[in-house]
Amino acid sequence: MTKTIYGMMAEFDTPGALVNAAREARAKGYRKLDAYSPFPIEELSEALHLHKSRLPLIVLIGGILGGLTGYLMQYYVTVLYFPINVAGRPLHSWPAYIIITFEMTILFAALSAVFGLLALCGLPMPYHPVFNVPRFALASRNRFFLCIEATDPLFDRKATSDFLGTLEPREVSEVAH
C-alpha cells in the first residue's frame, strides 16, 4: 500500500448531496477538493469557495493591448511608413483610427477570453487521473462526484475514505494516478 494515489472520490445521486458533501468537506478542513457534475450548479462554486476568477483581468489586459496595437499600427502606417496627404488632413488623423482601434480592442479581448479560459482551466489536458475510476464516466450523465486530492495536508487514505463514507455516497473509490 505504498503506491501513491491521486485522491479519494465519492459518488452521489443528487446535486444537493454533492453540494452538501462539498460544504461538509470544507468544514472538516479539506481544501484540495474538486467536484464534478453533468451540469453547472450555482451553489457549488460557493460551497467550494471558488473565488473570483482572474479571467476578467486577462480580458482587460488583452483589450488594452489590442487597442494600443490597433492605434499604433495605423499611426506607423499613415505617419511613419507611408505618409500620404489625404484631403489636406494631418497625417495623424485620429478620428479615422478609432474604428480599427475599437475592432482590435474587441478582437484581442475576445481572443484573450477564449485562450485565457483554456489556460486557466489547464486545457488541453489529455490525461487526468479521475478517469481512472471506471464509474466516473457517469459524471457527464447523471451522477455527481466529489474528489479530495491526496495533496491535501489533511489527506489520509483511511480517514478520508471513512469521512466520505459518512456523507451517504453511493460509493467511495480510490483514484489511482
Partner: protein
C-alpha cells in the same frame, strides 16, 4: 415567500414619504418656473431656448421609460418586472408633458428661423423645405406624436392594471401585441421629434444619425432615472424585501450598454461628417467645437462616455447601491450637458455661455414633472402582482 401572499402596495410610511417629496418638488418647481417665466418677460429668446432644452430632457426620460416598458414585454427578463411600475408611472405623465409643450408652441418664432416668411423668402434652401418646415405642419406632427404616445401609454397602463386582478396570459398577450407597433412608433416618433424640435433650429443641416442619437440618449436617461428611483425606493417596503444586488446588476448592465450605444452613435455621426468635410454638413460641428464649445464636446467624450464606461466595467460597482446610483445621477447630469451641446451652440454661435435661466427652468420643469411622477407612482402596487413571471423575477434576486 410567494407572490400571492404578498402585498406590493406602498405602505403608509412610504406613501407619506413620497407625498412629502411631491409637495416639495411641486413647490420648488412652481417657484423656479415662475422665476424663469418672469425672466422670460425681459428676455423671451433666452426663456424659450432654456425651456426647449429642459423640456427635451424630461420628455426624453418619459419616452425612454415607455420604450423600456414595451421592450420588456417583447423580450421578457427579470430586469423589467422590477421597474415596470416605475415606467408605467412615468408614462402617465404624458398628458402633463402635452400641457408643458405649450410654451414651445408659443416660442416657435423665437426658436426656429424657418418660421419667419422673410427668412424663408431670402433663402432658397429653406424655401424648398417649406413643404415640411411650416408652422401648421409642425404643430400637426407634434400633435400626432403626442396622440401616439398618450394612446400607447393608456393601453399599456390599462392592460397592466387589468392583469393585477386577472393574473394570467390574456392581458400579457395584449400587452405584447401592442408593444411591437408601439416600439415601431417610438422609433419613428422620436426620430421625427428630434428633426422637428431640435435639428430644424439649423434648417440647413441634416444628419440621418440624429434620431438614433436621441433614441440612445433617451434610453440612457430613463435607465439612469429608473436606477436612481429604484435605489431610493428600495430603502423601504415592498422593494426592500425583494430588490437585491442581482437586480441592480442587471439594470447596471443595461445602463452600461446605453452608455456605449450613445458613444457609438455620437461618434458615427462625427466620423462620417468629419470624413466627408462637406460645406453643408461640417459647420454644425465647427460651431460645436470652437469658442469654448469644444471643451463641452471634450467633456462629453470624457464624462458622458470614458469615465462612466470604465466605472461600469466593474461588476462590484454595478452591484453597489450607492456607487451605481452615483454613476446614474452623474449620467443624468451629463445627459443634460449633451442636450445643451446639441441645442445651444445654434443660439450662441462662436461663444460658449450659460444663462441663469438655464438653471431655474430645468429645476422648474423637473420639479413639476417629478411631482406628477410621484403622484402617479403610489396609485398602483409597486410590483405587478398578476405578472406571470413575477415569482421568477424575484427568485432571480435570491441567490
Amino acid at each position: 415567500m410567494t407572490a400571492s401572499t404578498h402585498s406590493f402596495t406602498a405602505p403608509a410610511d412610504l406613501e407619506k414619504g413620497i407625498k412629502s417629496w411631491r409637495t416639495r418638488a411641486l413647490a420648488v418647481g412652481v417657484v423656479a418656473l415662475a422665476a424663469g417665466a418672469a425672466g422670460g418677460l425681459g428676455n423671451p429668446d433666452q426663456f424659450f431656448r432654456s425651456y426647449l432644452w429642459a423640456y427635451l430632457f424630461f420628455v426624453g426620460v418619459t419616452i425612454g421609460c415607455m420604450a423600456l416598458l414595451m421592450l420588456q414585454y417583447l423580450t421578457g427578463g427579470a430586469w423589467g418586472v422590477v421597474i415596470r411600475r416605475l415606467c408605467e408611472a412615468a408614462t402617465r405623465t404624458f398628458p402633463l408633458l402635452l400641457v408643458l409643450f405649450l410654451p414651445v408652441v408659443l416660442g416657435i418664432s423665437h426658436l426656429y428661423s424657418w418660421s419667419h416668411p422673410e427668412v424663408a423668402a431670402a433663402d432658397e434652401a429653406i424655401r424648398h423645405k417649406q413643404a415640411y418646415l411650416n408652422v401648421p405642419f409642425f404643430l400637426g406632427r407634434a400633435a400626432f406624436y403626442f396622440l401616439g404616445w398618450i394612446v400607447f401609454a393608456l393601453l399599456l397602463n390599462k392592460w397592466s392594471l387589468a392583469q393585477d386582478t386577472e393574473p394570467g396570459s390574456r392581458q400579457q398577450l395584449k400587452l405584447q401585441l401592442v408593444s411591437g407597433p408601439g416600439l415601431l412608433f417610438f422609433g419613428l416618433s422620436v426620430t421625427f421629434m428630434a428633426i422637428d424640435w431640435v435639428m430644424s433650429i439649423d434648417p440647413h443641416w441634416s444628419s440621418t444619425m440624429y434620431g438614433l442619437l436621441f433614441i440612445a440618449g433617451e434610453g440612457l436617461s430613463s435607465m439612469a432615472f429608473l436606477i436612481t428611483t429604484l435605489v431610493i425606493l428600495s430603502r423601504s417596503r415592498p422593494f426592500s424585501e425583494v430588490i437585491t444586488r442581482r437586480h441592480l446588476h442587471d439594470l447596471g448592465k443595461l445602463m452600461f450598454a446605453f452608455v456605449m450605444v450613445w458613444a457609438y452613435f455620437s461618434f458615427s455621426q462625427f466620423l462620417i461628417i468629419w470624413a466627408g468635410n462637406l460645406p453643408e454638413e461640417i459647420p454644425w460641428y465647427v460651431r460645436r467645437l470652437h469658442g469654448g464649445w469644444g471643451w463641452v464636446g471634450l467633456a462629453l467624450a470624457a464624462f458622458h462616455f470614458a469615465v462612466p464606461f470604465l466605472l461600469l466595467l466593474s461588476r462590484d460597482i454595478k452591484r453597489n447601491y450607492n456607487l451605481l446610483t452615483a454613476v446614474a445621477v452623474w449620467l443624468l447630469v451629463m445627459r443634460m450637458v449633451d442636450l445643451y451641446w446639441l441645442v445651444m451652440p445654434e443660439f450662441r454661435k462662436g461663444e460658449f455661455g450659460v444663462s441663469w435661466m438655464d438653471f431655474v427652468i430645468p429645476i422648474g420643469l423637473g420639479g413639476i414633472w417629478l411631482a406628477a411622477f410621484t403622484w402617479q407612482l403610489p396609485k398602483r402596487p409597486l410590483l405587478p402582482p398578476g405578472e406571470l413571471h413575477l415569482e421568477e423575477a424575484l427568485a432571480h434576486g435570491r441567490d
